[in-house]
């Protein structure tokens, strides 16, 4: 059978490895493996540390299989979760995750930008010369007010 162009199958009868691979020795393999084992041990230690951090925040627990605790909840966010708002989020996304009407933020902030709602909070703040943190706080307050039980 003619091998495919550029694909030469190696055989056990390859010429002496000593001539072909002058840089190799069993010792060099052992050193490489030892270094990789050390790196793996370090990474596992970091993984355990990461798991401990997640467990401390009550986000995961293998023993209690508490992943299901948050797997089950995918509904709109509530007024107490407005702290999750970030400047990189778009108005469209904010309306969606809090289950707000599409024009709620447009009306609340009198936004006239034609790109609304495909516009980030930080982008709009920069465009209007607002302080990003203050604007984010104002959006949080508006969303919390809209979602509060008295509303």
């Amino acid at each position: 059978m003619i091998p495919e162009e550029g694909f030469v199958r190696p055989t056990e009868s390859t010429p002496s490895i000593g001539k072909e691979d002058p840089g190799f020795s069993p010792r060099s393999f052992k050193i490489a493996i030892a270094i990789l084992v050390a790196v793996l041990v370090l990474l596992f230690a970091l993984l355990i540390h990461g798991y401990a951090a997640l467990r401390k925040e009550h986000l995961i627990s293998v023993r209690e299989l508490s992943l299901s605790m948050f797997v089950a909840r995918h509904g709109p966010l509530t007024a107490s979760e407005t702290g999750m708002l970030r400047p990189w989020m778009t108005f469209d996304y904010v309306n969606r995750i809090f289950g707000l009407p599409p024009d709620f933020l447009k009306t609340a902030f009198s936004i006239e930008d034609p790109s609304y709602p495909k516009l980030t909070l930080s982008g709009y703040a920069a465009e209007r010369g607002f302080d990003e943190k203050e604007f984010l706080a104002a959006v949080q307050a508006a969303v919390a007010h809209k979602l509060s039980p008295s509303e």
Partner: protein, 203 residues
């Protein structure tokens, strides 16, 4: 959260699947983008109903495969010219790695899809070693469906807490990458020792 990832997420929310495809493609050809963290966030967005998780998986897998095929295709076509120009043929370790990829191509390609930083390196080596396209594509596609699915699922499950899982997901990716390098080196060592023994027996 670093501002770079924030910018990526903003583009993702604005341009949706088009942005996802472009970012994953660039990540697959070796651009240093936080693709895994982005997939975690995407899983969370899907959980909130902002994206469809299956369309996201399809776009991510297609972007990954396209990126891998780009690197593989370029090195398969021009690899030898580049290697000769850079005189890499003189490095025995490079030759041995190339031989290793060639000798068990399908499994090596599939395995390295799970170690993010190993994937672009293997694509280049597979192209240089002349691994046939019909061996490269199925292994690459299979790995590229499973790998983003893992990140999307974690993000979907974690929801608004996806960022808390970002570091752990990166560590798991690094463990898989190191373990796959170790696996390849152990196989190289076995072949090396087998050939040394064969040489001795011949003498």
């Amino acid at each position: 959260m670093d501002s770079f990832l924030s910018s990526l997420l903003s583009y993702l929310l604005i341009y949706r699947y088009a942005a996802l495809g472009v970012f994953v493609y660039l990540g697959a050809i070796g651009a240093p983008l936080p693709v895994n963290a982005m997939l975690l966030a995407l899983g969370a967005f899907a959980g909130q109903g902002y994206f469809n998780i299956w369309v996201s998986l399809g776009v991510a897998a297609a972007g990954n495969v396209a990126g891998d095929l780009t690197a593989y295709g370029i090195t398969r076509r021009y690899g030898n010219t580049i290697v000769s120009f850079l005189r890499l043929r003189r490095l025995p370790f490079f030759d041995a790695l190339e031989r290793e990829v060639r000798s068990d191509a399908a499994f090596t390609i599939f395995l390295t899809r799970f170690g993010s930083m190993m994937s672009p390196v293997t694509n280049v080596l597979a192209g240089m070693a002349g691994v046939p396209f019909l061996v490269f594509l199925p292994s690459d596609a299979a790995g590229n469906v499973l790998e983003p699915f893992g990140f999307l699922w974690i993000g979907y499950a974690a929801g608004i807490y996806w960022k808390n899982f970002s570091d752990v997901a990166d560590i798991i990716g690094a463990i898989v990458a190191v373990a796959s390098v170790m696996f390849i080196i152990v196989r190289m060592q076995r072949r090396f020792l087998r050939r040394v023994r064969a040489d001795k027996a011949r003498i």
